[in-house]
Symmetry: C2
Subunit: 398 residues, 2 copies
C-alpha cells in the first residue's frame, strides 16, 4: 500500500479512537445471559444484574429445542440447533464468529471439560461429532452403530449427551438402547466404554451436579438407569421403577419429556409424571419413593431455586399460563401465579435472588423476585424460550 | 480549544486506534483468578485457563490472612485485609479503584446476595460494618455488644461472616458466644435475629454450598453448632461433639484452625483434628462419625476436587512441603507429593481439570493436572498465598 498523506483533524482522530474503544468490552462478563428468541430465530444477550437487553443476534436458523453452552472465559456462546447448525457467537460484540452444519437433525450438545472441544448429538445422521471450539471444524465423527435383535448393524439416534469429569463425553443410543463413554481428548476421541441393552429407548439423560451419576430415562419403560462414574466396572444399574400407577387422572401428553425437567433439591429428585398432573419425589441416594404431589398441570420443568428451598414448576399445553411454587421442606404448594400464556423456561440468577421466566405467547421475559415472587421487570422479546446464564460455563455436565 | 489542523498519517491514526483498542478488555472474565502475593503486599491477576500472569497490583498493605470476594459481573475484586483496609481492584485494568479502612483489625468479609453491599468482620473495634460496593462508603456500623456473666456490656470480636440466601448476613461473636443474623438491605441493615450463649468461643463458621446450614466451630469445646436456615425457630443446635480422644500422637498447634479448612465431599465432612495428624470423617446429615484417617501431618486445608472424588490436603509447620491426596470413596491415601516448602493454598478450576497450588517459601505457584497429579506449569510469584477464581462471584456464603 502506498503511504498516502491525508489531512485529518487531530480531534477527529481522537473521536475515532474513543469510539473504537468505547466500553462495550470494558466490563466483566459474569452477569451476561442469553435468551432464545424463537420468532426471529435469534438470541437476545442480557445483562442479568441490571435486567437489560444489551444486543440481539438474528437469523441463526431454527432455534426450537436449541441449547447453548459457553466458552470457559464466558466470551462465546455456542448454539446447538435442531436444524443441525452450530453457531459461535461473541457475546461482547453480538457477532457470529463461526458456523457449521454438524448434522441434519441435532438434539443437543456439550462442551469438553477443558473447553477446547464441542460434541454434537445427532438424530440424523445417527452419530456424535466432535468439533474444535475455536474454529468449529469437525475433528471426529463417531457413528452410533449397534447390532439389532436380528444381528444386523443399525444406526441409532443419540441423546443425553453430557461432558463428564476426567475429560469424557457420555451419551445414549436412543434406538440402540446403549450408553457410550468417549474421551474428549485428541487425536482419537476414543470410545472408552460401551454398554449394550441398558434399557428400552433412552430418551434423555443427565449428569448430577458434582459429576458423579449419569441418569437415563426410558420411553418404553418406567425404569431409571444410573451409571456411577466412581464405579464404572458395575456399569449402568437400574435404580428405580418410576411409579406411575398411583391414582391420578390421565391427561394428554403435550410434550416429549426431558430429564432436564427433573428438579434435584434437598437430596431428593422431583420427577414429573408423563401424562399426569403430579410430581413424584424420590430420595436421591436410594431412589425410595417419598411422596406424590398433586399439582396444577402436567409438569414440564421443575426448577429448584439455588437455595433449594423452593421448586418452581411450569406446565404443558393449556395450563402453561401458570407457575406453581412448591415448598421443598413440606411438599406443599406455596403459591400459584398466573403470568400469561406460554410460560416455558425458568432460570435463576446464580446466587438465587431473581428468576427469569419466558412467557412465550405474550412475547415477554419476566424477572421475578425469587423470594417475594413479585414481578420486578418485563422485557419485550419476540417469542422467548430457553434462558442460559454464563455461570453455566463453570458447571460440569453441560 | 481551538480547532487545530495538523498533518497526520492515516496509517498512524489507524495504528493508534488499534493500540487503543487492544484486547485487554476484549475478552470474557470467566477465567480470571487472583493470587495474594504476600511478600509485595499485592495481588497477581491470572488467566487460569492459559495459566498466565496477566498483571500485578502492588502496595495494598498487609495481606496476611486476606480474603477476596468478586463483584457479580466479575470485574472487581474486593480485598478484606488484616490491617482493616478494603480495596476495590479492577481486574481488567489492574487499577485500584477505591479504598477504605473499615477496621483496625479485620478478619473477614462477604458480599451481599445482590452484590450491592460488602460486610466487614472486625476483631477491633468489635463490630461488623456494611459498605457500599460501588464507593466503599461505610453505610452502617453494627457494634458486637453483648452482656457478660456479670451483667456488664462488652464488645466482642466478630467471626464467621457469610452472605446467606434471602438477603442476609450471618456472623458469630467470638467473645460473646452469640450468632447474629442481619439484613443485607438498606436503609437499616436491621439485626433480624440474635442467639445468645450458643457455645464457648466460636472461632469460625461457614455456610454449606446450597446456603442452608450455618456451621460454627468452638475453640473451647469440641462442639459443632448448626443453624438450619429452613428452621430458624429452632435456633443454633449442637450437632456433634468432634471426637478428638481417639489414640493419636499429639503435635504442636502451628496455626489457629479455620472451618474453611473442612472439606465437604460425597455427603461427608472431612474435618482436621487440631494438634493431631488425622482427619475425622462425619456423615453430613447426621454428623455420625464414620472414620478417622491417619495422614502425613496436621491438616490445614482439606480441599475437595470439584467432582468430589478426591480430597487434597495441605499440612502445617515443618510438614508443609507435602500434598496428600485422599480417595473419598475408600478413605485411602492415593498419593503423597513433595512440591517444596510452604504449600499453603489449593484452588481447583471450576470444572475440576486443574489445581492451582501456592508454594510460598519457594515463590512458586504450581498448576497440577487434577487427575494425573503432574505439574503442568510453574509461575513465579513472590510469596504466593490465597488463590481466588472469579466463579466465586456466583456462590452464596462468601
Amino acid at each position: 500500500m502506498r503511504d498516502r498523506k491525508i489531512k485529518i483533524r487531530f480531534r477527529d482522530c481522537l473521536v475515532l479512537v474513543l469510539l473504537w474503544s468505547t466500553p462495550i468490552y470494558g466490563q466483566g462478563t459474569g452477569t451476561l445471559g442469553v435468551v432464545i428468541e424463537r420468532n426471529t430465530g435469534g438470541l437476545v444477550i442480557l445483562d442479568t444484574e441490571y435486567r437489560k437487553i444489551l444486543r440481539r443476534v438474528e437469523h441463526l436458523g431454527d432455534l426450537s429445542h436449541a441449547t447453548i453452552v459457553f466458552s470457559r472465559n464466558e466470551q462465546f456462546a455456542y448454539t446447538f440447533q435442531r436444524d443441525g447448525w452450530v453457531h459461535k457467537v461473541d457475546l461482547l460484540s453480538g457477532k457470529k464468529i463461526a458456523s457449521i452444519q454438524a448434522g441434519k437433525n441435532s438434539i443437543g450438545g456439550a462442551i469438553s471439560q477443558d473447553g477446547k472441544y464441542l460434541a454434537v448429538s445427532n438424530y440424523e445422521p445417527g452419530d456424535v461429532r466432535i468439533l474444535d471450539s475455536q474454529s468449529l471444524e469437525i475433528l471426529k465423527i463417531i457413528p452410533a452403530d449397534y447390532t439389532d435383535a436380528e444381528g444386523k448393524t443399525q444406526t441409532s439416534r443419540t441423546v443425553g449427551l453430557v461432558d463428564a469429569p476426567e475429560h469424557r463425553f457420555i451419551f445414549s443410543l436412543m434406538d440402540g438402547g446403549e450408553i457410550w463413554v468417549v474421551s474428549s481428548r485428541p487425536p482419537d476421541f476414543k470410545i472408552l466404554q460401551q454398554w449394550k441393552q441398558v434399557g428400552n429407548y433412552p430418551y434423555d439423560a443427565f449428569l448430577t451436579s458434582e459429576g458423579r451419576y449419569y441418569l437415563a430415562g426410558f420411553l418404553k419403560s418406567n425404569q431409571v438407569v444410573r451409571l456411577d462414574l466412581w464405579n464404572m466396572e458395575a456399569g449402568p444399574q437400574p435404580v428405580s421403577t418410576l411409579d406411575a400407577n398411583l391414582e391420578s387422572p390421565k391427561v394428554p401428553m403435550y410434550k416429549v419429556p426431558h430429564l432436564s425437567g427433573w428438579g434435584m433439591a434437598d437430596g431428593k429428585a422431583f420427577t414429573p409424571v408423563i401424562s399426569e398432573e403430579r410430581l413424584m419425589v424420590y430420595e436421591l441416594k436410594t431412589w425410595s419413593q417419598l411422596q406424590s404431589i398433586a399439582v396444577y398441570g402436567t409438569v414440564v420443568f421443575a426448577v429448584p431455586r439455588p437455595d433449594e428451598r423452593e421448586l418452581w414448576l411450569t406446565f404443558a399445553g393449556p395450563k402453561n399460563d401458570t407457575l406453581q411454587i412448591i415448598d421443598v421442606a413440606t411438599f406443599q404448594i406455596r403459591e400459584t401465579i398466573k403470568l400469561g400464556r406460554g410460560i416455558s423456561h425458568i432460570h435463576f440468577t446464580p446466587k438465587g435472588d431473581m428468576a427469569y421466566v419466558s412467557v412465550r405467547t405474550e412475547n415477554k421475559l419476566m424477572v421475578l423476585d425469587a423470594y417475594t415472587h413479585e414481578i420486578q421487570e418485563t422485557l419485550e422479546i419476540n417469542g422467548p424460550s430457553g434462558i442460559f446464564m454464563v455461570p453455566r460455563a463453570h458447571r460440569i455436565g453441560l
